[in-house]
């Protein structure tokens, strides 16, 4: 599908022109971040297409620094007149901000060379037909229904793909672009028991390369199994027990730590991890790695939202906190270096983020063994709420999953919460699985906490 495709280099040149104009109009420094994308999605219901959607989008965001003051404007209108207004608006807005020495864009010397191709766009994804997506979605629905007669309905079943291009240009000599894409399958079946009780299962896979994608059959089956096994779920008595997170929930747990690793919050002492660099905060068998160069990684990109070349770096190395996450502004405030992990869309300023965040187990054990080692505990497969307070480290989230009894998964559990303090939780991770999951931008294996409070009946 060629829509949304623009000639190579054109988006980058557009960004360059906007930056040049900003300089001419009085910006001391400027950067422009431009995007085009096209997306196509399919949803099915009862063996028929329910919704077909296709679209192209585009836009550009301009950051200017004038007299040390920061202004930002964006527009989805790339016509000449709109771009002139964009520059004038950003400069006018800068006047309303306070001067700040840390408002400095990275200079070209800070830029490492590009680290080579990372396989961010699969020609097969770019060429994926609507029919393929319709068939895949119908298959997920059919297979899901076939798993168990209790699968009665679907919240949604669908497939989608996205392909796009990103370009950046800065007044300090950065000018670059890359193309990217991914394909996704998802299924959310609802199982119903004889008493009318409903349970939703959910499974999803999204990959940069079609060949890496789980088959529609696998996604459909897994989603249905997850719904059916939750039928009849009820609370357990409140207790303190070992808690095991499946890989998706473990990824969500580690993803929740990103806010506390935010170097700007750390500088403001608004993170429970402030002042702990060099300290052991997790077991020696655990490292937390951010890798922007991972081949085919969903979070991989050659440069971050400020144009800095991405890299691989340990945030936690064998249990020891090594560094926080910084964009250029936060790094200058904290006299640190940018981690080149700034995320950015054309509608917003760069923000401190991660690329591909991975919880690495140095002494992994088979996931089944992690459950086998628990006489009574909770195996968590879905969670509700945000739950983690990066300032205090307090953690409390709604949870559902399966009870562990005598080393085996037993009856389904819902309407409970798991709670603890993140520092104690990190230190209390006593097992990590060999089942590192590869979907998403945060990757983790099964993990087990020695003991958390489960609130229920």
């Amino acid at each position: 599908m060629a829509t949304g495709r623009i000639p190579k280099g054109e988006l980058r040149r557009l960004a360059e022109r906007v930056v040049e104009r900003a300089k001419r109009r009085g910006a001391r420094q400027a950067d422009a971040f431009a995007e085009v994308s096209r997306e196509s999605s399919v949803r099915v219901r009862d063996g028929e297409v329910e919704e077909l959607s296709q679209a192209t989008g585009k836009g550009i965001g301009l950051r200017v620094v004038a007299a040390g003051r920061l202004g930002f404007a964006y527009t989805s209108d790339l016509s000449g007149g709109a771009l002139e207004t964009l520059v004038d608006r950003a400069l006018a807005l800068a006047k309303a901000s306070a001067p700040d020495e840390a408002n400095r864009l990275p200079n070209a010397r800070a830029l490492a060379a590009r680290n080579g191709p990372q396989e961010l766009l699969d020609p097969a994804v770019e060429a994926l037909s609507t029919d393929w997506k319709i068939d895949a979605a119908k298959t997920m629905e059919r297979v899901g229904r076939g798993v168990d007669a209790h699968v009665k309905a679907f919240e949604s079943v669908g497939a989608s793909d996205v392909a796009g291009e990103v370009a950046i240009a800065t007044s300090e000599g950065i000018s670059d672009e890359y193309r990217h894409g991914y394909v996704a399958l998802y299924s959310a079946p609802v199982a119903q028991d004889d008493a009318g009780g409903l349970q939703t299962g959910y499974w999803v896979d999204y990959r940069r390369f079609l060949a890496d994608l789980e088959t529609p059959e696998a996604v459909g089956r897994r989603a249905a199994e997850r719904a059916v096994r939750m039928l009849g779920a009820r609370k357990v008595e409140s207790c303190r027990v070992p808690v095991v997170l499946d890989p998706l929930m473990a990824a969500s747990f580690f993803g929740g730590l990103v806010a506390a690793l935010n170097g700007n919050l750390v500088r403001k002492k608004a993170s429970f991890l402030a002042g702990r660099v060099g300290e052991r905060i997790a077991p020696v068998d655990l490292s937390l790695v951010d890798d922007g160069l991972l081949s085919r990684g969903l979070g991989s990109r050659p440069f971050d939202g400020e144009g800095l070349a991405t890299r691989r770096q340990s945030l936690v190395e064998r249990g020891v906190l090594r560094c926080y996450l910084y964009d250029c502004h936060a790094a200058q405030k904290a006299k640190a270096k940018s981690t080149a992990t700034a995320s950015r869309g054309y509608q917003s300023l760069p923000a401190i983020g991660t690329t591909n965040l991975m919880a690495v187990a140095h002494a992994p054990v088979p996931a089944a063994e992690i459950v086998r080692g628990v006489s009574r505990g909770l195996y968590v497969t879905s969670m509700l709420g945000h739950g983690a307070d990066p300032v205090t480290g307090d953690y409390s989230r709604g949870a559902a999953g399966l009870l562990i009894e005598g080393g085996e998964l037993s009856r389904p559990v819902q309407e409970v919460t798991v709670a603890g303090n993140l520092l104690e939780m990190l230190a209390g991770i006593d097992a990590m699985g060999d089942d590192l999951d590869f979907r998403g931008q945060v990757r983790a294996p099964t993990i087990r906490f020695r003991e958390l409070t489960v609130s229920g009946a």
Partner: protein
């Protein structure tokens, strides 16, 4: 900081002409919409709709006592939908050239079968009420006035208490102009202003203990709103929360009597029952409220209203994103389920009518049934009477976010400020509590409803299927029995005498 504040006041205002001089207008006229509708119907669809939007946003953020950034943006585009039975074809374009729009219409049309002659549509304007007449559209207001609101709050929070270590603040607004036309001949236009101002504060107590506070306000209002909703008071409220919760003890774990303070606690309704009454979940049979109209689903003290017509309400709509006027709907009356919230598509497929609940995040998405402002009708007890009647329990004064699983009804919401109740009086502050329950069960356990109906201050948003829309909620003081508190402290409370029956 005082210095930054002075600098801002003495700074020259941006020259005129660099801020939008007039309110934005939706980018399509009725004649163009008629032409696109005809193309969208060209393959035999039975309904088509064109939605055009132009949204202008500004935002200001404050950190370390200074304005960190000032931002603005323009987002515009057109979404075109063709419906054939229950099948929907959708395409959008942010390119407003006629050929690009025509391509989008043709793409949407493909959902239906074979080419055929499409009927012409003659659009007629739908008369719409005004629930948010704005004198001065936010997009036209000088940013310096918005900056000043944030700086005023910052100063107030820092003055509040020496233990306030950090203050961050933000102001954001949007002026969104929409026009919608469909093949039933309806054409509607609306301009929707929306703003919010909020402050987040960190207090540091003994031994480096840190607590946060958060407060703000806004709605579909213009800047005159902040003459009565004072930025100073909002920031002081955030500071008060942070200071008040210093020295908090671990939350007791397990079921207990909970009293919810008024206001944003209405998120309880939003999560516990509101989402489950959205018609798409009902049509698909994925909500546990499916087929329960006329049945008792809550305590008779519970009357729940979703009201899109609240003056200045954050979730209010003159017309929804399908051009249907907003409505006041009784969802639950004295505990009995009265009806669901419909968009056009689900209303048509289920044989009902739209309740003005069709909303979307932007032209990039298809509309879905969504809540607007969701309230619990007041009862007749004073908040004091309710509190006095509790010998042991938890009082929740302020809340964070919430989430619900529609099918099993499990929901959580996070408590930001809470106190133990002992013999009818507030005791020590409690930290790290999340409330969890199953919607209908919790609503059956509502035993007292206060006479103090209170809307939230107007800064809430709701995510569904990846689409964020603005909503309001409201609750008087209520008492709920046997609500599970997800804390860390075990065994500090007597066990509940009787356990609840599940999903009665």
């Amino acid at each position: 900081m005082p210095t930054a504040a002075r600098a801002t006041r003495s700074r020259p205002r941006p020259p005129p002409g660099l801020v939008a001089p007039v309110a934005p207008r939706a980018p399509l006229d009725p004649r163009t919409i008629e032409r696109l509708l005809s193309l969208a119907m060209a393959r035999g669809a039975d309904f088509a709709e064109v939605y055009a939007e132009r949204t202008e946003r500004t935002a200001v953020s404050l950190e370390d006592g200074k304005i960190k950034s000032s931002q603005a943006g323009i987002d515009q585009g057109v979404g075109i939908r063709a419906v054939s039975g229950a099948k929907v074809g959708y395409a959008y374009s942010d390119d407003l050239d006629l050929p690009a729009l025509e391509r989008a219409a043709e793409t949407a049309a493909h959902i239906a079968g074979a080419p055929r002659e499409s009927p012409a549509t003659a659009l007629r304007r739908v008369a719409a009420p005004t629930h948010y007449r704005v004198l001065e559209p936010l997009a036209t207001v000088d940013i310096a006035r918005k900056v000043e609101l944030v700086l005023r709050g910052d100063r107030a929070a820092r003055r509040f208490d020496a233990r306030i270590a950090q203050v961050s603040g933000a102001y954001a607004d949007q002026t969104r102009a929409i026009s919608v036309g469909n093949t039933e001949g309806h054409f509607a236009e609306d301009v929707q202003d929306l703003c919010r101002l909020h402050f987040q504060v960190v207090a540091v107590g003994k031994g480096g203990e840190r607590r946060t506070g958060f407060y703000g306000g806004g709605g579909r209002v213009d800047l005159r709103f902040y003459e009565s909703f004072s930025p100073e008071k909002a920031a002081e409220e955030a500071a008060r929360q942070a200071i008040a919760t210093l020295g908090a003890v671990d939350a007791p774990a397990g079921p207990q009597t909970v009293v919810l303070g008024p206001g944003w606690s209405g998120i309880l309704l939003h999560e516990a029952i509101g989402h489950g009454l959205e018609a798409d979940f009902i049509r698909k049979g994925t909500s546990l409220f499916t087929g329960k109209v006329g049945q008792k689903v809550a305590s008779e003290l519970v009357t729940v209203i979703d009201d899109g017509t609240v003056a200045g309400g954050r979730g209010s709509v003159n017309v929804d994103d399908e051009g249907v006027p907003g409505e006041r709907k009784i969802l639950i009356e004295n505990g009995v389920l009265r009806g669901y919230m419909f968009d056009r598509l689900n209303a048509k497929l289920m044989g009902g009518r739209s309740t003005g609940s069709g909303r979307r995040e932007s032209y990039r998405s298809t509309p879905m049934p969504r809540m607007t402002n969701t309230f619990l009708a007041p009862g007749d007890e004073t908040p004091d009477e309710i509190l006095r009647g509790v010998s042991k329990g938890l009082y929740c004064a302020h809340f964070g976010g919430g989430q619900v699983d529609i099918s099993n009804g499990s929901f959580v919401f996070e408590v930001a400020e809470a106190y133990l109740i002992e013999n009818g009086k507030l005791g020590r502050p409690v930290k790290n509590a999340t409330l969890i329950g199953v919607g209908p069960e919790v609503l059956k356990n509502v035993t007292h409803v206060g006479c103090d109906p209170t809307p939230d201050p107007g800064i809430g948003s709701c995510g569904k299927d990846g689409q964020l829309v603005q909503v309001g909620v409201g609750l008087p003081t209520v008492r709920i029995e046997e609500l599970t508190v997800g804390g860390t402290a075990l065994g500090k409370r007597p066990k509940a005498a009787a356990s609840n029956r599940r999903r009665a």
